[in-house]
């Protein structure tokens, strides 16, 4: 497979905060159009992995390419959409409408000091349509539920037309019904060809939703199918203790 067909390629990536490694010698290849989950215990390096893929930090050793280019270039070109952890659960007294928040996802693409154009507004309308929130566009963000707000920030990430969508613990603090709708939305986006990388602490959700799963505990413990997540040996290596995996329906 030519390298441009890969969404993300990590080669022997190590990242150290001071002396201790947060990630050690991680290598993997994620093809374009993948729907991949990243699981692991607290302190496993999941957030560090996201920061590396986004190009916010550089690996201490090894190399990363995203969409065939350097992560920072891919991010600045708008090829990566990102929805950070707990953003939808923030205490929002922020005086802005859904439309304004989604449009702000095109800020960096338009360029410093340049005004938004009709194209920017059309792209943000399409993003709201894709996220199923067009009817909420004039609502103030503080008046929305957690699930609706989650969709707003996904629409914001989609406004830049990304090829790769990264979500950090998106199901945290969202009720079961909103969570179902949320994963249905991700499926639709995946069907449109967007590569989805989702970090989660919930093994059962990942087993149900993702097509492949990265098991991370500073090192890459496994790159497996959701079915293989039930393997007790894999779980013991991942969490460093015996773990029983009970699947539940979200």
């Amino acid at each position: 497979m030519p390298i441009d067909d890969h969404a993300i390629v990590l080669r022997n990536v190590t990242y150290r905060y001071d002396a201790s490694p947060a990630l050690e010698d991680v290598s993997c290849t994620i093809p374009q159009g993948a729907y991949i989950g990243v699981v692991g215990p607290n302190g496993a390096g999941k957030s560090t992995l996201i920061r590396l893929i986004l190009g916010l930090i550089a690996p201490s050793s090894g190399s990363i390419s995203v969409m065939g280019t350097l992560p920072q270039q891919a991010r600045k070109a708008g090829r990566i959409g990102y929805v950070p952890q707990r953003i939808s659960q923030s205490d929002f007294h922020f005086p802005a409408t859904v439309e304004e928040v989604v449009l702000s996802g095109r800020t960096a693409l338009r360029g410093l000091g340049r005004f938004f154009t009709r194209e920017d507004r059309q792209q943000s309308i399409q993003a709201m349509q894709a996220a199923g929130i067009l009817k909420l566009q004039h609502r103030q963000i503080g008046t929305l539920s957690g699930g609706e707000r989650q969709r707003v920030f996904i629409a914001r990430a989609l406004a830049g037309n990304p090829q790769l969508l990264i979500l950090d613990e998106p199901e945290t603090g969202v009720d079961a019904a909103s969570s179902r709708e949320f994963f249905a939305l991700l499926k639709t986006l995946h069907a449109k060809g967007i590569t989805i990388l989702i970090v989660s602490h919930d093994l059962s959700v990942m087993a149900k939703e993702a097509k492949t799963v990265l098991c991370l505990n500073r090192r890459l413990i496994g790159h497996c199918t959701p079915h293989e997540l039930g393997n007790p040996d894999l779980l013991a290596r991942l969490y460093g203790t015996d773990v029983f995996f009970l699947q539940h329906s979200h």
């Binding site: 986004l54 916010l56 991010r75 600045k76 990102y82 950070p84 953003i87 923030s90 007294h93 922020f94 005086p95 802005a96 409408t97 439309e99 304004e100 928040v101 702000s104 996802g105 800020t107 960096a108 338009r110 410093l112 000091g113 005004f115 938004f116 004039h138 103030q140 503080g142 008046t143 830049g160």
Partner: protein, 265 residues
Amino acid sequence: MLSILSYDFMIRAFAAGIAVGILAPSIGLFLVARRYSFMADTLAHVSLAGVAAGYLIGIDPILTAICASLLSAGSVEWLRRSGSAPSEALLSVLLYGGLAIAAVLLSLSHGTNVSLSAVLFGSIATVTKKDLAVVIILGICVLSTLIILYKEFFAMTLDEELSATGGIPSRALNVLLVMLAAVTVAVTMRIIGALLVGALMVIPALAAMQLRLSFLRTLLVSIAFSVLCVILGLIVSFYIGTASGGTIVLFALGLFLLCVIARRR
């Protein structure tokens, strides 16, 4: 009304007041939305030290106030990034530091009591042509920057981490926003007074936020509220002889209460 406008000093007062009325909430809304309201007060108290230094060394107090305010704005950002203490605690340290320096410098300078009262509570009736020119020129600079970088400031105010991730230079923009706030405080202080300058930056913005509008409309409404309060405050203070700064802020408080009541209905 006509009799007020027959005085040159009141025409200058209205012009300066309206300029400040536009400027203060324009920056203030960004501070309030970022939960940085206390910043305006801190900058005002540090500016007070700048004013005192100006009186002591015989330089235009507005210039020294701007310098002190810019210096403290840079310090706040530097200390915040260093993670030495929570942001609000750092702002308190600077506020009390500014006040202490102002008290010491003012006690060293003699014969400034009248000016001190004007600095603390505002003295719009003594606005000179030079003051007016400074307010208007600096006001145009601050507003132009806000208009040109509006979308970046909005994105950064919404979420600093998210905007940085998207490739917006949030760190530099944050410093710039605080610097703009510093200049606004130093300029507005001459009109409203150091003790109340934060009020005109924060209260009209808070009042407009009660109406649950878009960010842009909240900004425009807060400017309208602020200008209205300045005009009403000036008229009332002219006729009944009250301090202009205090009167303006009381109108702003009244408007805020009306907006809170309107929202609850």
